[in-house]
């Protein structure tokens, strides 16, 4: 049997290595990487967009192309994360933590190549695991019932506690805000519109990708305005970046292998996917490291670990597809569509009827991950140039692109305003030490927790709740892991606390002046919103199954909010230290935000691209003539018009001609 698989695999490698297949593979990779980089183009969207091109290809080539797009898009998210702290994909959120810090230090190229090599490494390990163990893996994945998913998500959430030592309560509160956001819309259990306040578009809830774009990309752009430098980061062209990244890969090969195998496994679970894998991988690697404090401060393995894990998921997602005919992710489901259009039924029968195609495909995934290195290298090299662009141009470009991406996600104008609102909110959150990463974690894990909790409760009607939730073996494993993950940071904190000399401990005393601080006000607002939403849930949601989870979430939001408020009020009072310059910067940020809002409000009247053109032009004019107080000249005006025209023109071509998304048009396009 073993040699059989090996023979088929080797034959597959040769089948995949025809020049035609290689050309298609490179096109697919480039398409995937660029699509994955753009905020608003999810991996599944990139694959769905490429699907029609594959209809005319022979089946094996079509699969090779789709596999290449899948791998490329999963990796592509990292580039934007590293360069502008804007995760192109939800699965690259963790990559930004260390990647962007490296960029700020001038090590952008090191981080980009490290992410690339780690992605390729993870992808290859994932494929090899798929090849060797797909049948047993599929059987283990099936053992995951709703109760195991529930505990796995709780385990993922428990990492909130360890994320920012010393700010545990605030981080957890931010996580609850995220879970609360995910409760809006049609609920899983009763199919009832929940917390919509009668506004119909809210029925579909908030989109994960749209929120991510807002939380990270818009807020980052606002934050960039604050800095006084003209460029986002210094781009040092230090020779040998690729060699250093390669050495980092070799130096961390063991930890990367472990997270890749773990990522592959998480990929096999339907409904979990790359985001969950990268979050768990990053936090576990941090927990087990000798010096966990390095993470988040520009550690190169902090970039490599989440990328290896999420690309390993690609192989994992194909396990249930090949072994059982069940897609492990939405992207895998689109690939099933591609197979069916070719007249091939996916699932176990593929191995008997189309073994040649299957092994060619699996082999091609390995080759695609190798080919991704040169393709990704070239793209990363070009993209790193973005750091040579003055931030005055980058800020409006990214804001307009984010709005377009948000629209493209679900074709809804509401999402464009959501992206701006989430961005503004995340900026304020950053100001008061409520980490947006924790909000994102809540948004990702909240629905998984609720859905599986409700399913488990309904399944428990046929047995007992305790048996399912607590006494099933997998539940016990995850409960143990969660308890460990909660206890460890508390213990470390206690040890740390005891080690500190008596004199350094700050006495806590209530100081009413703290009430007017931004953080107190924000926390009060959060608590108040939780209270309003709790009231709304209890009074207006009829179905008890739909009521349970939001009540729990908002209830704990209130308790935690009050607790954090009490701590904040008891902090020693500091006189406000905002300098006039800072205050001026805040004013500029507010202006920029309002310009973006006004631009989006004009969309229905003028058309999307025209309003975005105006928005960007106004931002640039404002920056040049009011901020920098350059003297007026037609040459400058012309330059601004030209830059704006090029940026918006590229967006138009990309979205209108290639991706075929048609945002609303008004008087103009």
């Amino acid at each position: 049997m073993e040699t059989d698989v090996l023979q088929l695999f080797v034959a597959g490698i040769f089948n995949a290595l025809t020049p035609y297949n290689l050309v298609i593979m490179v096109i697919g990779l480039a398409f995937g990487i660029i699509g994955g980089m753009l905020p608003g183009i999810a991996v599944v969207t990139a694959i769905a967009l490429f699907l029609p091109f594959t209809f005319t290809m022979p089946p094996a080539t079509a699969l090779i192309a789709l596999g290449a797009v899948y791998s490329g898009a999963t990796y592509g998210g990292a580039d934007a994360s590293i360069l502008i702290n804007t995760p192109g994909q939800p699965s690259s959120v963790m990559t930004a933590l260390d990647g962007y810090t490296m960029t700020l230090r001038g090590e952008a190229e090191d981080a980009l190549y490290a992410a690339l090599l780690a992605s390729a490494f993870g992808g290859i390990i994932g494929t090899l695991v798929l090849l060797a163990f797909f049948k047993p893996l599929a059987n283990v994945a099936l053992k995951f019932g709703s109760e195991s998913f529930f505990w796995m998500a709780i385990f993922g959430l428990s990492t909130l506690v360890a994320m920012y030592p010393g700010k545990v309560l605030k981080t957890v509160l931010a996580g609850i805000v995220g879970i609360g956001i995910s409760c809006v819309g049609m609920d899983f259990a009763g199919g009832e519109p929940r917390l919509t306040f009668g506004y119909y578009p809210l029925v579909r809830g908030f989109d994960l990708v749209v929120l991510m774009v807002g939380l990270f990309s818009i807020s980052q752009m606002l934050k960039v305005i604050e800095e006084s430098e003209d460029y986002i980061a210094q781009y040092d062209r230090r020779p040998g970046a690729f060699r250093r990244a390669w050495r980092a890969l070799l130096g961390h090969k063991w930890v990367l292998s472990v997270v890749s195998v773990g990522g592959t496994f998480i990929g096999t679970l339907p409904g979990a996917g790359g985001t969950v894998a990268s979050i768990i991988a990053y936090n576990e690697a941090k927990r087990w490291d000798k010096d966990p404090d390095r993470f988040g401060k520009g550690a190169i393995d902090g970039v490599m670990i989440p990328e290896a894990a999420n690309n390993a998921c690609v192989g994992g997602a194909l396990v249930p597809l090949l072994a059982l005919g069940i897609p492990g992710s939405a992207s895998a489901a689109v690939m099933i569509g591609g197979l069916l259009a070719q007249g091939i039924a996916p699932g176990p029968s593929m191995f008997s009827q189309n073994a040649g195609i299957v092994y060619t495909f699996i082999a091609s995934l390995c080759i695609a991950n190798v080919a991704m290195v040169p393709v990704g290298y070239l793209i990363a090299k070009v993209c790193a140039r973005i750091l040579d662009v003055p931030k005055a141009v980058i800020v409006p470009s990214v804001i307009t692109l984010s709005c377009l991406g948000a629209y493209a996600m679900r074709g809804s104008m509401m999402d464009v305003f959501v992206v701006l609102a989430a961005g503004g909110l995340a900026y304020l959150f950053l100001k008061v030490d409520l980490p947006p990463v924790a909000v994102a974690l809540g948004v990702v894990l909240g629905p998984i927790i609720e859905e599986n909790m409700i399913t488990t409760i309904s399944r428990a009607q046929a047995s007992s709740l305790m048996d399912l939730f607590v006494w099933s073996p997998l539940s016990l494993v995850f409960i143990f892991l969660t308890a460990f993950s909660l206890a460890l940071p508390v213990w470390m904190d206690w040890k740390h606390h005891k080690a500190r000399p008596e004199g350094e401990r700050i006495p806590r005393k209530f100081s009413p002046a703290n009430l007017y601080r931004l953080d107190s006000l924000m926390i009060m607002a959060i608590t108040l919103v939780c209270a309003i939403l709790l009231y709304e849930t209890i009074t207006n949601v009829e179905n008890p199954d739909s009521r349970l989870f939001p009540s729990l979430v908002f209830g704990s939001g209130i308790v935690l909010g009050l607790l954090v408020l009490a701590f904040t009020l008891c902090e020693p009072h500091k006189a406000s230290s905002t300098s006039p310059l800072q205050r001026h910067k805040h004013w500029v940020i507010f202006q920029t935000f309002c310009m973006a809002l006004a631009g989006c409000a004009l969309v229905e009247f003028l058309g999307f691209y025209t309003s975005m053109f105006l928005t960007m032009a106004v931002m640039l004019l404002h920056n040049t003539f009011i901020e920098k107080q350059k003297p007026f000249s037609w040459k400058r005006i012309l330059k601004i018009a030209a830059v704006t025209f090029i940026v918006i023109g590229v967006q138009y071509l990309a979205f209108d001609k290639i991706i075929a998304v048609y945002p609303p048009s008004g008087l103009f396009i």
Binding site: V44, T45, A48, L51, P52, F55, T56, A141, L142, K143, F144, G145, S146, G185, M186, F188, A189, G190, G191, P193, Y200, V203, R204, G205, P270, G271, P320, L324, G325, I326, P327, A330, S331, A332, A333, V334, I336, G337, L340, A341, G343, A345, P346, G347, P348, S349, R410, G411, S412, T455, S458, R459, Q461, A462, S463, N543, P544, D545, A660, Y662
Partner: protein, 319 residues
């Protein structure tokens, strides 16, 4: 000279703007928007993707896919209702989701807000257990259900599988029902032993059929993909539930456009090769013209509202 050129250019530009509205004899003249109410990974998308190539050959224009997921198709239907009835906005929609949204009033539309063009596929519901289950027939299943707590999975809440499950339950077969968010999750739960049996639909379950044992099919005739599986009717239970997949457009679609679409779809689905490809994908072609389709939706409403009522009382009883 300059003025002349300008006039020529202007009139050319004008003719571009005016031309499309002058005649729609040559419908379609530009890409057609296809609104899909479920994700790119679902059957509503697949059923159109299977004929994407043929649509372009037949009509000379491509389809542009727009996904409007949410509210069991309600979001997409609302979007269709608010679109212009010019034939450039079509939608891939499903029943009983259409009917159940009308009954529960969760959609903000009426039956008459749409032009129903044609039903192209119909996936019957079937009841299945794991391959290694001791249950071998519907009789075994009913025996097991009456003797103890049997857990039965469905694909989605108030979708076709849930209705079939409610109907058998209403006939006096006691079991606990649990809905999963989508086909893949329900199938995983069945294969992983997290439910004892599951109501599934043929379309998206075809690829994992070899891992399960179908007991009965909720259709009037047997399915060619599982010829040995009896229908519920053969076994004495009057259960017929299926997922009907159809094309629709906003109301008041011009008659000539509607006729062109119906004729085009009829041509597309006549092709034997295509029908075979669809059958392989589990989306067996079952063509119905607009009026027949609309009648079937209307007819299904009475039964579905009684089942929804039954479902609500069950829910209340459990509290």
């Amino acid at each position: 000279m300059l003025r002349k050129t300008l006039v020529v250019l202007m009139s050319m530009a004008l003719s571009f703007i005016v031309a499309p509205t002058v005649s729609n004899a040559a419908y379609p003249e530009r890409p057609v928007k296809m609104i899909v109410g479920w994700g790119a990974d679902g059957g509503a998308d697949l059923v159109i993707r299977l004929v994407e190539k043929e649509f372009q050959q037949e009509f000379g224009q491509p389809l542009v896919f727009v996904y409007k997921t949410g509210a069991n198709g309600g979001i997409a239907a609302t979007e269709v209702k608010d679109s212009k009835a010019d034939g450039y906005t079509l939608a891939s929609h499903c029943n009983p989701h259409m009917a159940s949204n009308l009954i529960t009033k969760k959609g903000r539309y009426n039956l008459d807000d749409f032009t129903y063009i044609a039903q192209t596929a119909k996936d019957p519901v079937f009841l299945a257990v794991r391959k290694d289950s001791p249950i071998n027939s519907l009789d075994d299943f009913i025996k097991a259900a009456t003797s103890g707590n049997l857990l039965v999975g469905c694909i989605d809440f108030y979708g076709p599988t849930n209705f079939a499950a409610l109907k058998l339950h209403k006939m006096g077969v006691p079991y606990v029902m649990s809905s999963f968010g989508g086909g893949p999750k329900a199938i995983s739960a069945l294969l992983g032993g997290h439910v004892d049996a599951a109501f599934l639909i043929t379309g998206t379950s075809m690829s994992s059929l070899s891992e399960m044992k179908p007991l009965a099919l909720a259709s009037e005739k047997r399915d060619p993909n599982m010829p040995d599986v009896p229908t519920f009717k053969e076994l004495g239970y009057d259960i017929e539930n299926s997922l009907s997949r159809f094309w629709m457009a906003p109301r008041d679609l011009p008659a000539d456009v509607e006729a062109r679409l119906l004729q085009g779809l009829t041509n597309i689905y006549k092709d034997e090769g295509l029908r075979e490809r669809c059958a392989k994908a589990g989306l067996a072609v079952d063509f119905l013209s607009g009026p027949e389709l609309k009648k079937s939706i209307v007819d299904s409403q009475a039964e579905l509202s009684s089942l929804i009522e039954y479902g609500e009382t069950l829910k209340k009883a459990n509290q």
